[in-house]
């Protein structure tokens, strides 16, 4: 939270790691190589040695081409375009002369994860240092050649210029001389940080991979084709964690095209290699056809069901639960309140549903080295998992990173990687494991369901004097499962004088995990819908009520109040909040802060009875400077559509298994239901944060509040149809 409230001084961000430094060298090709990294203590702790740990490399070739070696893969979040733009801005070259080369998984790079909206904030300093550092060296090389002070030299589009003498030199002609100079200290570099300093950043730049995407070139994990490659399917127990008692693998092996069929005993790690049956064939279709003849006798280990979860939740709501936070005296404040508002909210389990179903290609080389091509958000985690499960040392496992056909957090878990590795070792041929859509929806790491029971006291001044919250969520061994926790510091803690948060856990055997803006994308809807209920009960305007709520705090504020209120004001102003609307039309709003970004939305909904249409969403966003306007807008538009889509979906369980198998029963939003989205960025000079996650959380409640305004129906249960609303 503090990070978000700090201000940037010119040149240095508050989070900037001053231990970063530059390493410069000349490659045999004549290219200048700039590395930005840190020195880390050698693993041999008493040696006192330090090892160079690069974060990224930038290479300037003799042809003037600039290449960034990027350690993180692209999943549609736009880093492959945004990163070159930052380098181009600071190096002063045409951005079209900068491209990204995907690095494989390599320990030297440290964290290689797509997640937490961290690509931009983590890359911001190093990309600027690389660009500015290279420019600094090239200017020094030119100044020395001409015998002029560096201060008299400037740059433009890949050349150093000495205006008074009329001399100029291309960067390409200076590479060798620059490599011979000492690398500048990072503190010597002046890094552009304010929107008004940028010439390229903040512009609308189409994605660098568009030409390949739009002509159908191989890009994704499932597009990998290797000589002699076979195709695999892997059937697991529909009830998570079930074991194979027996399977008709002999009969399967005789089916057309099938080369292998075998049982995989597997492990008990839900996020690892689960038990199942592998079928391998000459084409994927034949493997999957053979699977239709597969008969497995499963030994299920549990029979979790949504109906049972609901029964348990009903019992738990009347019990006290564990108190996670208590400020002031909630019970006394509720007793003294002018008015008490009480409501319960429920959201279901949902799936990630990446459009590219999970897949991985693996090859065990004769040398014993295992090579993989994986669309993973967390490839290092995958390599560790494979090493532990197969007993192959990590340094014998090489992971190539493919473009990811949708991440949303699903591919932080690498079950598909370890399955492919296991099958490839059995088969001794290159194998591509391709999940079906049914595998994908039936074996996800779901965003967990939860119940929120709220009570709010309204004081004589019309403000919230007390907030009591009982959170009924899912756990295992007494702790919330992945994606099911809630920070005790989350607002309205700190915004209300008397506050209490209690938690109860329902035991679950269902695999859960992070889902785009984990937690936030679910519970923000509950909070922000309830705030509307409280505001309206107190006779206050929902916007005025929220701005007032954000006007003071009790102790440490739970979020930057001024930046949050700023986004709310912008969204409300652009939407014309307060304008008179005909019957059947309504506006709703919500604010939120997560993953470093502040976003508020106002939604406009038109209703015909209980059938509603979300016409338009206005967004106020503060993520510091915008790097690529197109990429930034794309994330906001995508998050709004994702929120509306997900608000109509649910995964339910029976007999320990998911009941939705494909897009016929898990119907993602289609184009006719998609609203127009209008983005308004507050171009503050805070360090930039990522935008892959922050816009999604407030979108659901803005829409739900607009539905209330248009129809009078308060949505307290998701998906919308549980509240009688269809979109």
């Amino acid at each position: 939270m503090k990070r978000a409230t700090n201000r940037t001084s010119p040149g240095f961000g508050p989070g900037m790691n001053r231990r970063s430094f530059l390493q410069v060298s000349l490659l045999a090709s004549g290219a200048l190589l700039i590395g930005v990294g840190r020195c880390v203590e050698s693993t041999a702790s008493d040696s006192g040695d330090q090892t160079w740990a690069p974060n990224l490399y930038v290479r300037i070739g003799p042809d003037g081409q600039v290449t960034i070696v990027s350690k993180n893969p692209e999943a549609g979040q736009g880093v492959k375009t945004a990163f070159p733009m930052v380098v181009a801005e600071c190096l002063d070259v045409d951005w079209r002369d900068v491209r990204v080369e995907q690095a494989p998984l390599d320990d030297r790079y440290g964290r290689q994860v797509v997640g937490g909206s961290r690509g931009t904030p983590d890359g911001w300093d190093d990309l600027r240092i690389a660009g500015a550092g290279a420019r600094h060296l090239l200017i020094a090389a030119a100044a020395a050649r001409w015998g002029v002070p560096t201060g008299e030299c400037s740059t433009a589009s890949g050349s150093v210029i000495h205006e008074s003498s009329g001399q100029s030199a291309t960067y390409a002609s200076l590479l060798e001389a620059a490599a011979g100079l000492p690398a500048p200290a990072v503190s010597e570099l002046r890094l552009k940080s304010r929107p008004e300093e940028f010439t390229l950043l903040g512009r609308f730049v189409p994605g660098v991979d568009n030409p390949r995407i739009l002509t159908g070139q191989p890009l994704f994990g499932c597009d990998v084709r290797l000589e002699g490659m076979l195709y695999a399917v892997f059937e697991k127990c529909p009830a998570f964690g079930g074991k194979v008692r027996s399977a008709n693998v002999e009969a399967i092996r005789k089916l057309p095209g099938v080369t292998h069929a075998f049982v995989v005993e597997g492990t008990t790690n839900l996020a690892g290699l689960m038990p199942g049956v592998a079928i391998v064939a000459d084409s994927w279709w034949q493997a999957n056809e053979a699977r239709k003849q597969l008969k497995v006798d499963w030994a299920a280990t549990h029979a979790d069901s949504s109906a049972d979860y609901e029964r348990q939740a009903e019992i738990l709501r009347t019990q006290p639960g564990a108190t996670l936070r208590a400020d002031g005296d909630v019970e006394s404040a509720l007793a003294a309140a002018r008015q008490v508002v009480e409501a319960s909210y429920y959201y279901p389990f949902v799936a990630h549903a990446n459009l590219e179903p999970q897949n991985c290609t693996a090859l065990l080389h004769e040398s014993g080295r295992l090579e993989l091509w994986a669309p993973s958000q967390n490839p290092k985690g995958g390599r560790q998992l494979i090493a532990e499960t197969l007993g192959i040392p990590e340094d014998r496992i090489h992971v190539n990173l493919a473009r990811i056909g949708g991440g949303f957090g699903r591919r932080l878990v690498n079950d598909f990687m370890v399955e492919a590795a296991w099958i490839a070792r059995e088969v001794r041929r290159p194998v591509q494991l391709q999940w079906t859509r049914e595998d994908d929806l039936g074996h996800d790491f779901y965003r967990p369901a939860a119940w929120h029971h709220f009570r709010a006291g309204i004081g004589a001044d019309g403000r919230m004097s007390a907030f009591d919250h009982h959170f009924v969520t899912f756990g295992r061994d007494g702790r919330p499962v992945s994606g099911a926790d809630l920070s005790p510091g989350h607002y309205p803690a700190g915004l209300v004088p008397n506050f209490r948060l209690r938690q109860s856990l329902i035991e679950t055997h269902v695999p859960t995990g992070p889902w785009r803006s984990p937690g936030h994308s679910a519970y923000c809807w509950a909070y922000q819908s309830f705030f509307d209920e409280v505001a309206l009960a107190a006779g206050r305007d929902p916007l005025e009520f929220r701005l007032d709520l954000l006007s003071r705090s009790y102790g440490e504020p739970p979020l930057d109040l001024a930046r949050t209120a700023g986004t709310l004001r912008v969204a409300a102003e652009k939407a014309g909040w307060g304008r008179s609307l005909p019957a059947g039309r309504g506006l709703g709003l919500a604010f939120h802060f997560d993953h470093g970004g502040f976003v508020s939305h106002v939604a406009e909904v038109v209703a015909d009875g209980r059938q509603v249409r979300v016409e338009k969403v206005w967004s106020g966003i503060d993520i510091g400077p915008v790097i690529n306007l197109s990429g930034a807008r794309n994330q906001v538009e995508g998050c709004v559509v994702d929120a509306l889509s997900t608000a109509q979906l649910e995964i339910t369980f029976a007999e320990g298994a998911a009941q939705q198998g494909n897009f016929d029963s898990y119907g993602l939003l289609r184009i006719p239901q998609a609203p127009e989205v209008e983005c308004h960025f507050i171009q503050s000079d805070h360090p930039p944060s990522g935008l892959g996650e922050p816009p999604i959380a407030p979108a659901t409640p803005a829409i739900a509040n607009a539905i209330f305004a248009a129809t009078g129906t308060r949505i307290r249960a998701l998906p919308f149809r549980r509240s009688g609303i269809s979109v």
Partner: protein
Amino acid sequence: MSKFSLNINGVSHPLDIPDDMPLLWALRDKLDLVGTRYGCGIGVCGSCTVLVNGAPVQSCRIKAAALQGKEITTIEGLSPDGTHPVQRAWHDEDVPQCGYCQAGQVLTAAALLERNADPDDAAIDGAMAGVLCRCGTYPRIRKAIKLAARYRADESAAGAKS
């Protein structure tokens, strides 16, 4: 198994595949034309859309052998150099996020513009409703189709002059 040839992107491709193999898997696993992508296998997501005699068809639900003598266009063959008006508009409006569904979107849009040179939002929504985008690029798809319609009109105007 049966042996036959398919006319794909103007080229005759010999195949020797099971009688009932869908076109999608013939393209991906036998011809290495991987730009046509699998999303659901039941014809509801549209990722695997190709054009058969100019009309959008979900290649996961149609047998390859049934398409002998037909003209099949995949994303690889929409234009020789990626300059079809829809491809240019998709780039200029920067439609793709992850990009996985976009082959199906682009081909469906190209077929729409052949039928309707100037579609409004309702026509766009009607024609494009069969192709899912998990990233939510729908608002841009609407814009890009309108831009492609302009590019197409400009092309035919230029063609008429010359």
